[in-house]
């Protein structure tokens, strides 16, 4: 099993108040699954993604990633997992604005300690995979929304992660561009990647092979198509 969440809770303390963002989540995801996570705003989708992506840790319960208990790891160990195992795609792209597309894509390789002579080739290969070779030396502000998201996807892919996490990747794109981006994910899934994607839109979710619906921090339904 790639991902195994058991009886997992996430509670935020806001002043004296407790916000139960996730309650009693148990969820298993296998390699090469393509999972869409749906649910109304505030239902805990992003919180779940952040925990799965090792950006955050559960308050309670267990998260096994390839059999390793993630809740027990320290900051640097989590960073290593993010580097080697996780590829993030954000709704707002989160590219570094002063770097070119090429440099943005290369960055995870540097943090992954890839030897320099191997890097350029990897970057070009990945830029090709998302169809952006011509735009490699442009900065994000010289790119369209769809192109930026392709750069972000390339950046997420470059270290060949076990899981690709995308939190509303089409949320800031028009529907045509969104559909193009979904085609990219489709290709990645077909190539054997594991993808977890958050979306509000039913038509986006239908690209996935499994739909998990959250409501008030709980899993309301989990259907495989």
């Amino acid at each position: 099993m790639l991902i195994e969440l058991r009886d997992m809770f996430k509670t935020y303390e806001v002043g004296t108040q407790q916000v139960h963002a996730l309650r009693d989540i148990s969820l298993s995801i296998e390699e090469n699954e393509y999972v869409a996570i749906m649910g109304p705003s505030g239902s805990g989708k992003s919180t779940l993604m952040n925990i799965v992506g090792c950006l955050d840790t559960p308050t309670e319960g267990s998260y096994l990633l390839k059999g390793t208990e993630v809740a027990a790891l320290d900051d640097d160990e989590l960073a290593e997992i993010r580097s080697a195992e996780i590829g993030f795609v954000f709704q707002t792209f989160n590219l570094l604005p002063r770097m070119t597309a090429f440099q943005n894509v290369e960055l995870p390789l540097i943090y992954g300690r890839a030897a320099r002579h191997t890097r350029a080739e990897r970057v070009w290969e990945t830029m090709d995979a998302v169809g952006l070779r011509e735009r490699a030396h442009h900065r994000p502000n010289e790119l369209s929304g769809g192109q930026r998201q392709r750069v972000a996807i390339a950046r997420a892919l470059i270290n060949r992660p076990s899981i690709i996490l995308a939190d509303e990747p089409t949320g800031n794109l028009d529907s045509v561009t969104g559909e193009e981006i979904m085609q990219v994910f489709r290709g990645l899934s077909d190539a054997g990647n594991t993808i977890i994607l958050v979306t509000h839109e039913q038509y986006i979710a239908e690209h996935a092979t499994r739909i998990v619906k959250l409501l008030d921090g709980r899993i309301a339904s989990d259907t495989t198509t």
Binding site: L55, D76, R82, A115
Partner: protein, 389 residues
């Protein structure tokens, strides 16, 4: 992390896990960030350039004169100028002189460097009991002086010698006693080489002054003179120094006084201002930089940066900035000082101390505003950093 090895092929390019990022990468990344944020880098550097630059130039110009005084001037006798914090005759309340910062020995040295100044003596005084062998003179004037005082204040030595440069330099416990003191404490014996207590401290008599008589019924011989440095060691260095000086040969006394006045005025708050401007500039820009980059830090962490990767990047960035800025400031400040020296009567000397202090300022700025934010940046939790707007 063995359990997390990728099953799929292609992870061969990820090498050893505990390995530090190549220094070259961190350096390149820092340089790239600095270059791509030219305005921000420039602003940060500007603060340091201004800070170190004004430090070096001001320190060179006044060569250690660090007080901001509007000194009291008076011509004593025909050709002696006396610079003191307080006038000889005070009118009204003494609060009027409170704002005048005290004059230091370094001020005296700076006045001495003026081309229009001939000889300079510095002195400080207080009153203490003087004792020898059971005899005591109460509230005798104790004057801490430099060697030049002998000539400037017209003292004649009856026996022995006056305070010398070596006495001052070594802070010796040497004392020159006035005629009254000699007569009172040593009615029969020769005072030379004997020990007297000045305010309880032991001094050796090295000289006896000729009598100066009295003025307005007060004896001018009821005093002892000790090295000014010894005085400061014994009674503290917080008393304001009185500078007595004579104009250089052939220079009208008014011109000398003008020059001294100018030196004294130059100091007014400049050092404080320089430090303030530089420090605040650096602080502002660095803080803004860290704050506005919180999200960047979150992104970097999300894609695999470790704590140390972030910390070293920020650290190297500020080291580069303070290094370049500091060097530019020191060079510029020295240039300004030398220029001023060339075109005005102000003395300037680019001292090692000034350069060292400026470099230290740059380093401290780098440390205070670089290391700490870098550490903070490294410790930021990715999720919170990403949330930051």
């Amino acid at each position: 992390m063995g359990t997390l090895e990728r099953a799929s092929p292609g992870t061969g390019f990820r090498q050893g896990s505990a390995k530090a990022m190549e220094f070259r990468e961190t350096l390149l990344s820092s340089i790239r960030t600095l270059r791509s944020h030219k305005m921000r880098s420039l602003l940060t550097m500007l603060g340091i350039v201004i800070g170190t630059g004004s430090l070096v130039s001001v320190m060179s110009l006044i060569a250690g004169l660090n007080s901001s005084v509007s000194a009291q001037f008076q011509s004593v006798g025909t050709d002696i100028i006396s610079v003191s914090r307080y006038p000889w005759v005070q009118m009204g309340n003494s609060d009027a002189y409170k704002d005048r910062k005290h004059i230091t020995l370094e001020d005296a040295a700076a006045v001495g460097r003026l081309r229009s100044v001939g000889m300079v003596a510095a002195n400080i005084h207080t009153r203490r009991h003087i004792a020898h062998d059971g005899r005591v003179m109460k509230y005798t004037l104790v004057s801490g002086s430099t060697a030049e005082y002998e000539i400037i204040d017209n003292y004649l030595v009856e026996e022995g010698r006056f305070i010398t440069d070596l006495d001052v330099e070594r802070r010796r416990q040497s004392v020159v006693i006035g005629a009254d003191v000699a007569g009172e404490l040593f009615p029969v014996r020769d005072p030379l080489g004997k020990e007297v207590r000045v305010g309880g401290r032991r001094f050796t008599v090295v000289g006896i002054l000729k009598s100066k008589g009295d003025i307005f019924g007060e004896s001018l011989d009821d005093l002892v003179i000790i090295p000014i440095t010894t005085f400061q060691k014994a009674y503290g260095s917080r008393r304001s120094v009185v500078i007595d000086c004579s104009p250089a040969e052939g220079v009208p006394i008014e011109r000398t006084m003008d020059d001294i006045r100018q030196v004294m005025r130059t100091m007014t708050g400049i050092v404080g201002l320089a430090l303030l401007v530089g420090g605040i500039g650096v602080m502002n820009v660095m803080l803004v930089s860290v704050a506005e980059r919180t999200r960047e830090i979150g992104v970097r962490k999300a894609i695999g940066a470790r704590r140390g990767d972030i910390t070293s990047q920020f650290l190297i960035e500020s080291i580069i900035l303070t290094g370049i800025g500091g060097a530019m400031g020191i060079a510029g400040g020295a240039g300004v000082a030398l220029l001023v020296k060339a075109v005005t009567p102000l003395p300037a000397e680019v001292t090692v101390a000034a350069v060292a202090l400026a470099a230290a300022f740059a380093v401290v700025t780098g440390v205070a505003f670089g290391v700490y934010p870098a550490h903070r940046a490294g410790r930021l939790r990715p999720i919170e950093a990403l949330r930051y707007e």
